[in-house]
Subunit: 665 residues, 2 copies
């Protein structure tokens, strides 16, 4: 297979990257030792867990995944019916992708053999023409590609292709890639402008970004073209889904209760180049954008890149939480309108923030801009890792910025806001999505533009870089995210000329940059400072970021955050929890100009930086006991020292209130 | 028919009451000239209107009421199927009750003939054993009383009985009352402790309060006993609804999507004496309480009265909006938890506030307490009349305290919050409920305890009172609610000894009371001041209330209202509207100690008092254009004169933002 199609004209290539970072190594270990085996048990219905039906308070211990069983039935190895969601297959694919990425960090022969067996099983389940989907193969083969708004067939196919590409990258398992190509060829044979083919697309974007990846690893231009077909076809014919629904002869809904969704839910309300704002289901939107950004990059499509920039700005300038969460409403898990960012009813799905990282990364491939890397970091250190308990076994779908347990119990409009992370979900997209993101973190650290290596993330790692055939050992040494000093060791085998760009995060008001002991005075350009020079062996560049505690205000158009403050230190957004600060967190007020103190607490959560401040708490006078409204009672405050913890650590102790945006004086 | 059963030992009886008040006469005219004829057209499918399906943005012009048609079919006068909700009959009954009450104010022979004809029709639709319900008679006679959680059979029966009692009171139409007694007898024959009878109750309370009324007008003790049976049976057997559902053989749900509601939705989770807080569907709860308070009064049931007091306090001290609205969530149109009073997602159904008035009035029959009368007034002047446009032809179900039109359009969690009043609803409970309340306002002005006449409401009216056979002409002269002076003219035919109690509203910080030109210095007791004396001809008592503009704060436990202020003058809560103050009302801040100015504007809404203040508005600096969050931008304010209008007048001009709770310095 050729890898000839490379748009990037850079002579720089990153060969290998090892993460040596303390903060992230812990996560890699959790994924390898806890999540992957745990998820394997779930997929095989061996786990003794409580599966939680999302959007429903009932816990149903007997509910199962059945995902591997579905493949065995489709493969003809077992008798039985399909069980689970129509997109149940994707859980297996995401697990496989996590395995692929994890093997890159720590090779594990037994795990590889297990994954190879899964590939063997998938090959057996694949139909002669390349079609691969257990629901439709087992239950409704005649309905294949006929209910695309809901069927998730191309969504599942995309997840398999992503997994296969990752698995091939790590293990060179050719069968995995062959199954993927056969599947992509089957799709190519069924979709397109040509007569007899379906001029349509999946209700859930994913195939588009996967085909772009398949193109990159195989060099096959047709996969890129098919991806472009899906992207450009989207939203051009507003009757497509409706026509399929009308012609459908199936006896039951593919997914109950989906037919009322507006076209914007699927980003199918307008052609993609005409979409001015981020609309609809948040995960769908960012998966679409991820594909658009990659295709724009791979085919140098300026119009598509411009459309990506518009949607990016719509998200980060108008519709994103300070934690990197997106999706302001549970109904449709969707965007609503500009500046509508309620803190206690939002969705902020873990998967949506993961998708935002995918989008950010593909934009960074197009152009170096701190906004992309800042947002990537923001989502990663906050909304994304908040999705997992510190034990690696409990997960949030929904990542709120304000929680009062009583409200989750008694207000149906907040029943989706869980107070503790459940073990597993009936719709299990988030945990395996987290696993594959965390194990592929190595890909996000650097991007290359022309002859410059851009540093997007700071974490201890070492990598081999080839610049015009010169081998360079590039190492980051840092105790980030707790400390702001990042030391780059640059060790070329011979002097080499290239740029090394360091990112100045938006939260760092000041910074210092020292090259071989000499301070460099440069201002950042689009969020980066580039040191372009001939690098010598043992060159050392030290970046010191401003790690003081920062107080953020929201745009006054955000009603929910008016007269409130959010606390950040380094990449972490902080929050108040009831266990540290007592109940009624909303009564706490942060006075003006009070100094915050930061200390690293080795005893908490295995070591975490906490922030303290002498704040005030509004008193609820006794006279309020029996009245709701008063003309006479004044506001009274008492001094109260309060403790902030990093947002991602919340809900790892006793359940209680949590608050990101605190009242300010 | 005897009227022997009277608990009240007072020798005082109010004979006749005419409302001469300018403010309320307008409403009585609207009901008579607009609402009653309009609703009659709707009931007969003659109106050229757009019926709005609630909780759905689609307007379905073709949807019809069919309510009268249903009765014609049930009566055998026409062929056809039942159409509409299972409780469609109640629309006719509420219209009939409004007609009855309206005839009291303005006799209209043609209207009476029309109503008489409706009674004739109902008698024809009534089955031999007294059963009356068009849905079950036409569609599913075999399912009668077998799905009480959803069937609304006793709810509809209750509304007919209420209408019949009111119609008999005004017109002495004996047939109306005979149909009611037959219906009640049918229910009595089917429900009770005796073997063979159903030991259960309706999912929607209403029959209980209606039977208490029927008992009072007929003197029949059994109706009171049947009401008590329903009340005391409620919540004792938590399996009752479930058992009926299991045994049900009907082919379709009586009402779709109701079976998942918890028992608390129906107040059937506990026996009524054990219910500590107001739970579930707000209208159901207040209808239950209305019946409890009346039965407690009629049968001197101290335990039940204590239960009423508990539920009353739960509502007004913990779960009521400052407008008198109740129901914090759209999902179940229900209460949630203490102090959970969001201003923009709540339900605050017009009918629920009307029910709160019923409850308050029945509590006033038990005991004179300003809390009941204050709340009655609060709901009446704010949440209730906000339910109707000033033209009398458009209605709100939902009465929000904060509206941003964009959010109602784009956030499904706020799609129930309408920005303009629609013409009619598919579930048309609120408009006829409003009509019957407004036309029966005369009943709420005074209550009698022992030898004291308590004044609950201030409005120009005159009435005849008999005290120990002495006839007294009692007149209120006032320009209330705009002015705070109320002049009572007391003209007994001969000197008469009794108490006249005036209410000192909680919003009136000071007051002055002058009897025949001499100031009286008394402090209020439970919200009332009682002048007990021998009244002479031409006695004059003048009460002057404090009509200065008041600023209210909410209990700090109410998160939604923290650091906000609500403006009240007299009984009216005020609000800001976009049409007066521009967009982004949330950026307006009311500074401390700024004087409010009040003036009566004859040109606005046909004459209404408005409040102005020199406030401040937060600037959204240009730098905010392209960012959501900032560490650097300070708060800046500009002076801005703002105008408050009475809350009930909102949404009568161009659609836009509205806000009750404004930010304060």
């Amino acid at each position: 297979m050729s890898q000839t199609y490379v748009k990037n004209s850079s002579s720089i290539h990153i060969q290998e990257l090892q993460i040596t970072d303390q903060f992230w190594s812990r996560y890699l270990e959790i994924v390898r030792k806890e999540m992957i085996p745990y998820q394997w048990n779930v997929l095989n219905d061996k786990a003794d867990i409580t599966i939680v039906k999302e959007r429903n308070d009932e816990t149903i211990p007997s509910e199962k995944s059945h995902a591997i069983e579905n493949f065995k039935i489709a493969a003809g190895l077992k008798e039985g019916r399909h069980y689970g969601w129509v997109f149940q297959d994707s859980d297996v694919y995401k697990w496989l992708e996590a395995v692929a990425c994890s093997l890159h960090h720590t090779y594990d022969e037994a795990l590889k053999e297990l994954a190879d067996e899964v590939i063997d099983l998938l090959e057996l389940a694949q139909e002669k023409d390349g079609y691969l989907n257990t629901y439709f193969s087992i239950e409704e083969p005649e309905r294949r590609f006929k209910m695309l708004a809901e069927s998730h067939e191309l969504y599942c196919a995309g997840h398999y292709i992503e997994a296969a590409v990752a698995y091939y990258e790590t293990t060179k398992n050719e069968k995995a890639l062959r199954v993927a190509c056969l599947l992509a060829d089957c799709i190519d044979a069924n979709f397109g402008h040509e007569s007899g083919k379906i001029k349509g697309y999946d209700g859930h974007e994913e195939i588009e970004l996967a085909l772009a990846k398949l193109h990159q690893i195989t060099g096959e231009r047709k996969y890129l073209e098919l991806s472009k077909f899906f992207l450009y076809e989207r939203g051009t014919d507003p009757t497509f889904f409706e026509r399929q629904r009308k012609e459908d002869t199936g006896k039951r809904a593919v997914i109950e209760g989906m037919s009322h969704r507006p076209l914007s839910y699927y980003q199918a309300h307008k052609p993609i180049l005409d979409q001015e704002s981020a609309e609809g289901h948040a995960v769908r939107l960012v998966y679409l954008c991820t594909a658009m950004a990659d295709v724009a990059y791979l085919s140098d499509d300026k119009e598509m890149l411009e459309a990506c920039r518009r949607l990016w700005k719509s998200i980060v300038n108008k519709r994103m939480y300070i934690t990197g969460g997106i999706g302001s409403t549970v109904d449709g898990e969707a965007f609503t309108s500009d500046y509508d960012l309620p803190n206690d009813t939002m969705y902020c799905e873990t998967c949506a923030s993961i998708g935002l990282i995918f989008f950010a990364y593909n934009m960074l491939k197009n152009e170096a801009n701190g906004s992309y890397a800042d947002t990537l970091e923001r989502a990663l250190y906050n909304s994304v890792i908040s999705g997992m308990a510190l034990d690696g076994k409990h997960f949030f779908y929904v990542n709120p910025l304000e929680v009062k347990p009583e409200n989750s119990e008694t207000d149906p409009g907040k029943s989706h806001v869980k107070v503790t992370r459940p073990e597993w979900f009936g719709c299990a997209c988030c945990p395996p999505n987290l696993a594959r993101l965390l194990t592929s973190l190595n890909k996000y650290i650097y991007t290359i533009q022309d002859d410059i290596i851009y540093t997007n993330l700071y974490l201890a790692n070492q990598t081999s870089v080839i610049v015009k055939d010169i081998h360079i050992n590039l190492r980051q040494e840092t105790n980030y995210p707790w400390d702001g000093d990042i030391k780059f060791h640059i060790q070329p085998d011979a002097p080499a000329t290239f740029g090394l760009a360091v990112r100045i995060p938006s939260w760092s008001k000041t910074f210092k940059l020292i090259l071989n002991g000499v301070e460099i005075n440069e201002t950042s350009n689009n969020g980066f400072i580039t040191i372009f020079r001939e690098w010598q062996c043992n060159d050392e560049l030290v970046l010191s970021l401003d790690m003081s505690v920062q107080e953020w205000a929201a745009n006054p158009n955000v009603r929910a955050d008016l007269n409130k403050v959010a606390i950040q230190r380094g990449p972490f957004i902080y929050c108040l929890e009831e266990v540290d600060n007592g109940e009624n967190l909303h009564l706490i007020r942060i006075p003006k100009n009070r100094p915050f103190s930061y200390r690293f607490d080795n005893t908490l959560f295995g070591g975490v930086g906490i922030i303290e401040v002498n704040a005030e708490k509004r008193l609820v006078q006794k006279e309020w006991d029996n009245q709701l409204y008063s003309m006479d009672l004044d506001e009274e405050y008492e001094d109260k020292k309060v403790t902030f913890i990093p947002y991602f650590c919340w809900a790892n102790r006793s359940p209680g209130e949590m608050l990101v945006w605190a009242a300010k004086e």
